[in-house]
């Protein structure tokens, strides 16, 4: 909720009160008459200003004064009153001390001057109408006993059923009992192909392979299904898939900041931690402890220590508005999101509602929120070091893994070789770039005008100022190693003279932004006009292309040449706007310029055989002129790009080699130096402080008092322990319901993130408790055991058969008389397309951002406004499973479009149950998106290789790969007819026709849904 001025906040209370009243039926409570809109209006506009102006100086928290013990900045203040008791008797002005005081009858308040009569009259009117004062809610307390989710969990008896032999697992009895009571027959078992496809997608997010289908169908051991389930649980795909469920709740992304322009290196470590945790079946209670307080847990070795630090990425990664320049607001927002995340994920409670007022219908007073807020304010999540406006996410250096001296020496040698190769390539590249028009204006500045200052034997002096003339936010820094190379070139391109200049450190601090200029002398050789070229002398980080000014060559007192580079200073370069719509022939990162300016070149097709080179920047696409070039220049560009490509490879290798010994960091939280209790922020406003609240947990949960927070710690460890306390009724219920939701398509409580008063009651309350207690006590919080039992149940194995009678009784299938059909998740659609086309890259883990792979992150200074390529998906990530793609918080990257089209949740939202939409946009994507088209064509190629001769067999193979069952005769006939008809349209091009067939199947419901 927005944090707002008083008027609005008060209206907020009002509206929420309305909501509270409307819901009385649900709580069974009666509430007092809420303040009406007019009352609020009256109070806010007529009374509050009087209080503020006349009374607050001596009677408010703000002034720190409570003369006579009276404060008037809350309803509670005057109700309690001062030493003389209540200051106001609602409805009775004449009995109210306050009126006596302002009328100067007993007290004389305010003491220096009596209020104007009009104001006294207003106060009288206000009290007469009952002194409606919405400033503090008197929220009704909800008896936790009345909210089912807060009642203790007791192990229910497994119910008796008539069809005793139906069930495979105890859970089946709970389902069957209800069905029998309603006279509904459960659906029959799903067939082999259906159940295999179902369980494979549900456990790993991938389709079964034709070989797996065959193995399953031919397994006569009597445990075929169990064997499949165990194989799937043991496969790494299980972690890949189930980790994604977790990321829906933990708001994982590789790019921080809601604007999506801040890279966060090392986020992937947390991603890999979660995947490994699920694959190793880390008990869920342990999983929770590590994520909330891993840094505070004891450890046996460095490996474990690393892992536990990385785990706290759960709290460190989130949609933080790092550029919020109101830092206390940023802190409050981060804390709010952490509370909201923990509240919904583990407790099924909307705790964030209590940020500004007591929860309107759930038993969460504002004090509980600030008890938790104290824990997170005592935890360092983001840090502001200044200057500039950006904060950074807290990082912790990881304990280093050890390596032998021989190993280190070998690496040093390798590194030296690489660096030497780099020098060679760089020397080749610069002259090539100089031959490209536009290129000289980008990473390398070359003044094309011939300079006459080259008389043989004459002494010239060259001077210039170095200064940050591009975007100079503190986010970009230079290091002492950064340098400029200034060359004077003869007409043939050879170098008359060159200088290397180290302008000094440009830290971004305001007083350090003036860099050292320089002077050099040289002697002319009379070989004709010369040109000046300015380039970076620093591998990979020349931010000085535009950062030079007042270049001057003089002979004695006479100025031969002067260039002020104004056209390059202060923002985008004037000139033609780079036209991003032109087809790109080739592209290359411009070496060197990695700051906010130019960083990328495209060769674009202008038609008629002409092409042009465009230079792009990280932000403004308004750069150097795009102009037609000659074939020779085109060649130079191609050659430059070849060299550039190799340079990038070498770069990456250098980075890799350097990284071996570089310190490693994780995005992780830690306790602040002085953990402390925090005050309530009245109305959520960090500038309006109320009482200090001791850190703690939800008062509505009885075990909250068991866990005390020792001095000097934040309390995260106690929070984690409280969450998994055997008598905390919420966490295990909420988690087991989430698991059910993922396997059965909807939760036993369908409002999976909300178990509050207005959430849904469980369809099978006893079953929910049974599952919760079994997971916790019998299975030791094991996710895999819990999943295994659920998928081995008879209930899970039912078909999705229609049942007219059941629909009448239970249209929503809450009783589970059939297995609900559902569309595959966005990432399963993508991964299954890649699996079918044979393109799925099985590699797993490690960084996903181009930036991190190039090891170039240090070249960025801060992580703000990175060059475009840094956020792009590197080639060797592009075809991995979706969970390994880098996630951005806004503006999904091209490759990720498929995800957002099919309801992938926004990484900044806490999404226990995804949307499941059906819109024309999805159909358009399936029909025309290049990604689908590409997979269809690869699939067609693959099929041709698998079944070169027999088209009917090929169709069967297509079915096995996509809908995971053999094609029936009708399917084959339909496909054959399509192939033949289409062939007529496509001039008999059988390859093209097969792509069309594959394209159609990838867009069909048989592929998109799992039954």
């Amino acid at each position: 909720m927005s944090v707002r001025e008083n008027a609005v906040a008060i209206l907020a209370l009002l509206v929420a009160c309305h909501i509270g009243r409307a819901q009385d039926v649900a709580t069974g409570e009666s509430t007092e008459t809420a303040t009406s809109a007019e009352d609020v209006e009256f109070f806010e506009h007529q009374i509050a200003p009087i209080f503020k102006r006349r009374c607050y100086p001596c009677h408010s928290h703000e002034s720190g004064k409570a003369k006579g013990g009276l404060v008037l900045d809350s309803r509670r203040g005057w109700e309690k009153g001062g030493s003389e008791g209540a200051a106001i008797v609602p409805g009775k002005p004449d009995e109210s001390l306050l009126m006596e005081a302002v009328r100067y009858q007993s007290y004389e308040m305010p003491p220096d001057e009596q209020l104007p009569a009009a104001e006294i009259a207003l106060l009288e009117r206000w009290i007469a109408r009952g002194a409606p004062d919405p400033r503090e809610s008197n929220a009704q307390k909800i008896d936790p006993e009345k909210l089912w989710a807060l009642r203790p969990i007791q192990r229910p008896d497994v119910p008796d059923v008539k069809a005793e032999s139906w069930g495979y697992d105890d859970l089946d009895a709970f389902i069957l009992q209800r069905l029998e009571a309603e006279g509904i027959t459960p659906a029959s078992d799903a067939d082999h192909f259906t159940i295999l496809r179902r369980v494979t997608f549900d456990l790993t997010g991938l389709p079964p392979t034709p070989e797996e289908i065959e193995a399953f169908v031919n397994d006569t051991s009597g445990h075929a299904y169990e064997n499949v389930v165990d194989r799937l649980l043991d496969s790494p795909g299980f972690g890949d898939h189930w980790a994604r469920h977790w990321f829906d709740l933990s708001c994982y992304a590789d790019l921080a900041d809601i604007q999506g322009n801040v890279l966060i290196r090392d986020a992937w470590r947390y991603r890999d931690y979660v995947i490994a945790a699920f694959n190793s079946d880390k008990p869920l209670d342990r999983f929770i402890h590590e994520q909330i307080a891993g840094d505070l847990l004891p450890y046996d070795n460095d490996e474990q220590h690393r892992e536990q630090i990385i785990a706290t990425g759960y709290l460190a990664i989130g949609p933080w508005t790092l550029q919020n320049y109101i830092k206390p607001q940023l802190d409050a927002d981060v804390v709010d999101h952490q509370i909201d995340r923990i509240g919904r994920t583990f407790l099924g409670q909307t705790l964030a509602c209590a940020r500004c007022h007591d929860h309107k219908f759930d038993p969460v007073p504002m004090a509980d929120y600030y008890a938790l807020a104290g824990i997170f304010h005592s935890t360092l999540t983001t840090r502001y070091d200044g200057p500039g406006v950006w904060s950074v996410i807290s990082e912790i250096r990881l304990p280093a893994p050890k390596s032998s001296p021989e190993e280190q020496a070998r690496r040093q040698e390798e590194l030296a070789d690489l660096r030497s190769r780099w020098q060679t390539l760089q020397a080749e590249l610069t002259p090539l770039l100089l031959r490209i028009p536009g290129g000289s204006e980008a990473n390398v500045l070359t003044l094309e005008k011939p300079i006459a200052a080259n008389e043989k034997g004459t002494q010239y002096e060259l001077s210039f100022e170095a200064g940050p003339s591009v975007w100079t936010a503190a986010s970009q820094q230079t290091t002492a190693a950064d340098g400029l190379q200034i060359d004077l070139l003869r007409e043939d391109g050879s170098i008359l003279v060159g200088f290397r200049h180290s302008p000094g450190t440009w830290s971004g601090a305001k007083d350090a932004q003036t860099l050292k200029g320089a002077r050099f002398a040289y002697t002319g050789d009379g070989s004709g006009g010369i040109r000046v070229r300015i380039a970076s002398a620093t591998p990979g980080s020349s931010r000085f292309g535009g950062a030079i000014d007042d270049l001057k060559i003089s002979e004695g007192q006479r100025t031969c040449f002067f260039e002020d580079f104004d056209s390059l200073s202060g923002g985008p370069i004037e000139g033609a706007q780079a036209d991003t719509s032109l087809p790109v022939l080739a592209q290359a990162a411009v070496p060197g310029w990695t700051g906010g300016g130019l960083n990328h070149s495209h060769a674009v097709d202008l038609g008629n055989g002409n092409f042009a080179i465009q230079f792009y920047g990280g932000g403004a696409h308004r750069l150097a002129n795009a102009k037609p070039v000659t074939p020779a220049e085109k060649e130079a560009h191609a050659a430059a790009m070849d060299v550039e490509k190799e340079l990038q490879d070498v770069d990456a290798k250098i980075a890799q080699a350097e990284k071996q010994d570089a310190p490693e960091y994780a995005l992780a939280v830690r306790d602040v130096d002085e953990p402390a209790d925090r005050p309530i922020y009245r109305r959520g406003d960090f500038q309006n402080l109320g009482d200090i609240v001791p850190r703690g947990f939800l008062t509505a949960v009885s075990t909250s008092t068991r866990h005390t927070i020792p001095d000097g710690t934040s309390g995260r460890l106690q929070l984690a322990q409280w969450l998994t306390d055997s008598e905390n009724p919420l966490t295990s219920r909420v988690l087991v319901n989430r698991i059910w939701h993922h396997l059965f398509g909807k939760g036993l409580v369908r409002t999976v993130d909300y178990f509050g008063v207005h959430g849904e009651s469980p369809s099978h309350p006893e079953l929910l408790d049974f599952l919760a207690i079994r997971m916790r006590e019998d299975d030791g919080w094991s996710l895999k055991k819990t999943v295994r039992r659920m998928v081995l149940s008879r209930t899970y194995q039912m078909a999705s058969t229609h049942n007219g009678r059941a629909v009448e009784v239970d249209p929503d299938n809450r009783l589970m008389w059939q297995m609900p059909r559902r569309r595959l998740s966005a990432e399963s659609i993508r991964d299954a397309m890649l699996a079918a086309s044979g393109q799925l890259d099985p590699r797993r883990g490690g960084p996903s951002l181009g930036l991190e792979m190039k090891g170039n992150i240090n070249g960025l200074g801060g992580n703000v406004n990175p060059p475009t390529w840094a956020g792009q998906i590197p080639e060797d990530i592009r075809k991995r499973r979706s969970v390994y793609l880098p996630l951005q918080r806004e503006r999904p990257l091209g490759e990720l479009e498929i995800l957002s089209v099919f309801d992938f949740p926004h990484p900044s939202d806490i999404t226990g149950a995804r949307h499941n939409t059906t819109v024309a946009r999805q159909a358009l994507f399936l029909l025309n998106a290049p990604f689908v088209k590409e997979q269809a064509s690869k699939l067609a190629e693959r099929l041709k290789k698998d079944e070169p001769a027999d088209e009917r067999a090929r169709i069967n193979r297509l079915y096995l790969l996509t809908v995971n069952r053999p094609a029936g005769p009708a399917d084959i006939e339909t496909a054959m007819t399509f192939l033949d008809q289409c062939a007529e349209d496509l001039n008999g091009d059988r390859t093209a026709v097969w792509s069309q067939l594959c394209h159609a199947v990838l867009g069909s419901n048989g592929f998109l849904f799992r039954e």
Partner: protein
């Protein structure tokens, strides 16, 4: 035409067309909204909010304190920066407006200028989200989606909510928890070339349309066969319908962006085919066409108002891009009798500070920092009074001092003009009713005609 299929499986789908016109809560003053979003934060004191005191004290140290809780950059030696453009009285009402807006000035008597709008965040993405959705952080429905949900739309052949060349992420035009049919449809290309689809993935020019039709037929055949076996499945039926709609969109949409039925005079009026107004002119003309056709909410976005440096040059540039097309839009709407029933809203996510910001060391071309405390937006048409100003900022244009209009108030007022009570337009989600105005919002009655 490219009506998006509502979720067949969405609870509460009762078979009625999900975008059918629904009655308003009370008689509406406007039938549709056309939002001209100026992304980045246009400078109020250089365009609409002339401050003689600021002009007089230009170059002097600040007579007010900067908020202590805010980290700053480029403000260490900040000075008051006088208006960077000239101002003149315009229209019969005498509204003071910048010289940079000569065309908009012709419509001064139609404008209702809100001079003390305020928002809750000085950060672009957050403030932009608030302007579009009312909420700072969570993904909640955009105002266009709320209007679509509340009123349906007049033309069942078109989406109810269209955003033309959006500059911001999808969350700013999403339906969030409202049914997906209410989400904004993005027009991604407004140029004249026929090979660029206005809507993403609308066509695949590489294959004959007949082949694609055949492919759709095959998909439908497979889907129908499966459906026959399953007897019933609402979502699968929805998919089948979605494919048909997709095909209709492909074949019929190109007409939308085809301006051949517009007169030369109209094209010239909008500055189409001339620099620098071509693109924005096309956006505005397209907006008029959609509005005229009955689209409930149309948004046109223009990026580039974030003038931290060289505001004098930057403003000039943005104004030269947008002034003529916006004036043309008002002229055109009026000529067609549409202005009275179309609420036009102009503005950015916040405004700018009266003081300088020097980010790039270039003291000769200073800019201004973000300012969410008090800035200008304007409305025209659709039930608001023309030729008036509402609210005021302090002597320097920093804080609103009277007639403040919070973004929630703005939304409440917009809904009111559309005949909706912002407190009654709710949707149940996460256990509580949600509103565009969350728990706040007050209708600004003073501006209603």
């Amino acid at each position: 035409m490219f009506h998006q299929q509502a979720l067949a499986s969405h609870p509460g789908g009762d078979g009625e067309a999900p975008l059918a016109v629904k009655p308003s809560h009370f008689p509406a003053r406007a039938k549709r909204i056309l939002f001209l979003f100026m992304s980045g934060g246009p400078s109020q004191m250089d365009l609409f909010d002339y401050k003689p005191e600021l002009a007089r004290l230009a170059g002097q140290v600040l007579p007010y304190k900067l908020p202590e809780t805010e980290a700053t950059v480029g403000l260490d030696n900040t000075k008051l920066l006088g208006p960077v453009s000239g101002f003149r009285h315009t229209g019969k009402c005498g509204l003071l407006m910048s010289d940079l807006l000569p065309c908009t000035a012709q419509h001064a008597d139609d404008l209702c200028v809100l001079r003390a709008v305020h928002a809750d965040s000085p950060n672009h993405p957050v403030a932009i989200r608030q302007l579009h959705t009312g909420n700072l952080f969570d993904t909640v429905p955009s105002m266009g989606a709320w209007l679509s949900y509340g009123l349906g739309t007049e033309n069942q052949q078109l989406p109810s909510y269209i955003t033309i060349l959006p500059t911001e992420g999808e969350r700013n035009y999403s339906s969030a928890f409202l049914p997906a049919i209410h989400q904004g449809t993005a027009i991604e290309h407004v140029g004249s070339s026929s090979d660029k689809a206005p809507i993403r993935h609308l066509t695949d020019a590489s294959i004959p349309q007949g082949v694609q039709r055949r492919r759709i037929d095959l998909i439908q055949q497979m889907n129908q066969r499966q459906l026959a076996r399953l007897e019933t499945d609402q979502q699968m039926e929805g998919v089948i319908e979605a494919f048909e709609l997709a095909f209709r969109m492909q074949t019929e949409t190109p007409r939308l962006v085809d301006f051949t039925d517009e007169s030369k005079e109209t094209l010239a009026l909008y500055g189409i085919d001339e620099k620098p107004t071509d693109t924005f002119g096309r956006q505005c003309l397209l907006a008029r066409r959609f509005s005229e056709a009955g689209v409930r909410f149309v948004q046109v976005s223009l990026h580039g108002w974030d003038h931290h440096g060289n505001i004098a040059g930057g403003l000039k540039n943005e104004c030269s891009v947008s002034d003529k097309p916006i004036a043309a839009l008002l002229t055109d709407l009026k000529a067609r009798g549409l202005l009275d029933e179309t609420l036009v809203l102009w503005g950015g996510e916040f405004g700018r500070t009266p003081h300088t910001q020097i980010l790039d060391g270039n003291k000769n071309a200073p800019g201004r920092e973000h300012n969410h405390h008090g800035f200008t937006m304007w409305m025209a048409g659709g039930g608001v009074k023309g030729g008036m100003t509402h609210g005021a900022t302090d002597d320097f244009g920093y804080y609103g001092i009277e007639g403040q209009v919070h973004i929630n108030d703005l939304h409440a007022t917009m809904l009111h003009l559309m005949g909706l009570d912002h407190e009654r337009l709710t949707f149940q989600h996460h256990g509580r009713p949600f509103r565009l105005t969350d728990v706040a919002g007050k209708v600004v009655k003073e501006i209603i005609a």
